[in-house]
């Protein structure tokens, strides 16, 4: 058990001229670390799901008659609130734009139980940490007379479906 203090890398018999050895060393290192890096990346590719299970983003919520004027119906499983005023109808998201909790109805609009964000009746932020207003989703009337909501399409706040 002994350690030789003399450095063994580098010089060959002629002294200097180590470019080939260095080159091979670099290639070996690049190959090993490159493969390790690629394996690590491929692990992430593996655990990133290609197909996800979720609810349909486009769905029917019943007939306009189900929502008499003045209704503010929270459909929690769908994550929306249906608002009906006279002949105007809209769907407002009830997923807090802050950190994704479900907001509840409050006297002045909506309030989030997790971090205290508050929204008015139209979903505009009136207090708390929420960075954006609650989005409005596209509402259309299907040929069979049912209201259809598409959560993939956001519309500007205040754009109602007129029945």
């Amino acid at each position: 058990m002994a350690v030789n203090l003399k450095r063994s890398s580098g010089e060959d018999a002629e002294g200097g001229r180590t470019s080939r050895r260095r080159m091979l060393g670099w290639l070996t290192g690049a190959g090993l670390f490159g493969s390790a890096g690629l394996s690590a990346v491929s692990n992430f590719v593996f655990i990133k799901p290609r197909a996800t299970y979720g609810q349909p983003q486009r769905f029917s919520v019943g007939k306009p008659e189900d929502y008499p004027s003045g209704t503010r119906a929270i459909l929690a499983p769908r994550g929306i609130c249906i608002v009906r005023e006279d002949s105007k109808l809209a769907a407002i998201s009830i997923t807090c734009t802050h950190l994704g909790c479900t907001v509840g109805a409050a006297d002045t609009g909506f309030a989030c139980p997790c971090h205290g964000s508050r929204f008015d009746q139209d979903g505009n932020v009136t207090g708390g940490p929420a960075p954006r207003p609650l989005p409005w989703f596209q509402v259309t009337l299907a040929p069979n007379g049912e209201i259809e909501v598409d959560k993939d399409i956001e519309v500007s706040p205040g754009s109602y479906l007129t029945l």
């Binding site: 990133k48 909790c101 940490p129």
Partner: protein, 430 residues
């Protein structure tokens, strides 16, 4: 020339000696009765040889370390054992997980006790690891040559937090569901890769079966493996960095008077052909030759008894807590209605209070800066003064900055715990 013993007699003799021989083949030393045997016992036993043969008296002072690192480790051991036992009954499925929790309480022998132990040891580990970090900072123990072990320690602290975070999704109760909804949403605020991390953690676009399975795998396999490796590195480096930190005056002065006309030359100049033994590579004050006075004592029994004492105290405390208090279990998941207010466990309430001001700054920015400051502290604070003393005057600035951060977090935790009511509105607890 004596006749060899009859085969039958010698067989009987070895049969009689069998227990003794098996014993002495396992434990190669008798119970130590002199210093040589004390050294040999520490040195040859697999479980003891992680310790030095001799340990500095300063490292054994209870008021220096409060045994916090050891307590953290013993809590980790308790968590591993109780966690593996709990795995026999747990199913990471959204339809079964909560029922399994009820089974643990109702129909599994010692189920409640084990779950309580796992929960309280987890809370304890978060607290004790943090206190250990405070001890190391406030005694200046992160300084050279212990810089990198401090970095490993900070990583261990983060892993501990992540372990507890992935753990409390598993009961699939209300706390679990909404904490993970919020936690993954915070990750989503991280710049550039935030959304990808959120997607990878949840295994989809919302918290559900995929998220439960992912957090389960992280909690029982990935994180424990990383944690175990990091703990091993942490312990190894303690030894290689020369044991625990201690002030300069903890060692008796050995004055080596230089010769008047001495000059410094490299050994390789004087003896170019010489080869050196591995002992020459060992750093720190561990290799001592001759009778240089020091303040060390033998690890057997001094260190081992201290460790045993800490272990017994730790286990007893967890047992007593687990017998007195049941781990909470909230209502089963209701993905439609968060509890109001929806509160995280106490150690994340400071974070929750901060994100109630700003999601990015409270959840990513400020904690990120704090962690970054912790990681680079030993590389910015290079002064060798004030090592090994609590609240050394030489470290007034560093300690003040650190304590300010800690107190600020404690204030946020207190506000989040006692001063927040429905819809996270400010309430007074009286």
């Amino acid at each position: 020339m004596s006749r060899p013993a009859a085969p039958k007699a010698s067989f009987l003799a070895s049969l009689l000696e069998l227990p003794k021989n098996v014993w002495s083949s396992i434990f190669r030393n008798p119970l130590p009765s002199n210093d040589l045997e004390r050294s040999a016992t520490s040195f040859t036993n697999f479980f003891l040889h992680i310790h030095p043969v001799k340990v500095h008296k300063h490292s054994l002072r209870p008021a220096y370390t409060f045994g916090l690192g050891l307590i953290s480790f013993f809590l980790f051991v308790i968590l591993t054992v109780s966690g593996i036992l709990l795995m026999f009954y747990y199913v990471p499925s959204t339809s079964q997980a909560y029922d399994r929790m009820l089974d643990l309480r109702g129909s599994v022998a010692f189920g409640t006790l084990l779950r309580n132990m796992h929960r309280w040891a987890a809370h304890g580990m978060v607290a004790v690891v943090f206190l250990h970090l405070c001890r190391v900072f406030l005694t200046g123990s992160y300084k050279k040559p212990r810089e990198f072990n401090w970095v490993v320690g900070v990583i261990l602290f983060l892993l501990t937090l992540f372990m507890s975070f992935t753990g409390y999704l598993l009961p699939w109760d209300q706390l679990a569901f909404w904490a993970i909804t919020v936690g993954t949403a915070i990750a989503g605020y991280a710049p550039i890769i935030g959304k990808d991390i959120q997607f990878l953690l949840m295994g989809g676009t919302s918290v559900g079966q995929e998220a439960l399975l992912r957090f389960y795998v992280l909690h029982v396999a990935v994180l424990p493996a990383i944690l175990t490796l990091m703990i091993a590195i942490h312990f190894w480096r303690i030894r290689k960095d020369g044991g625990l930190s201690r002030p300069e005056d903890a060692d008796p002065k050995v004055s080596l008077v230089a010769m008047e006309n001495a000059v410094e030359v490299k050994a390789s100049v004087l003896e170019p052909k010489k080869v050196y033994g591995f002992q020459g590579l060992v750093r720190g004050p561990l290799t001592k030759v001759g009778e240089i006075p020091d303040n060390t004592v033998y690890s057997w029994p001094n260190l081992f008894l201290a460790e045993l004492f800490v272990f017994v105290i730790t286990l007893s405390a967890i047992l007593v807590l687990s017998l007195l208090f049941n781990a909470p279990l909230e209502e089963p998941v209701n993905a439609l209605h968060p509890p109001n207010p929806a509160k995280a466990p106490w150690y994340f309430l400071g974070l929750q209070e901060m994100v109630s001001y700003s999601a990015f700054w409270g959840g990513i920015g400020v904690p990120g800066i704090f962690v970054l400051l912790l990681l680079v502290a030993p590389y910015l604070d290079r002064s060798p003064k004030g090592v090994g003393k609590w609240f050394s005057r030489d470290r007034l600035l560093a300690n003040t900055i650190f304590i300010t951060f800690v107190v600020a977090n404690i204030i946020f935790v207190i506000i989040g715990t006692f001063f927040r009511g429905a819809n996270w509105a400010f309430v007074t607890p009286w």
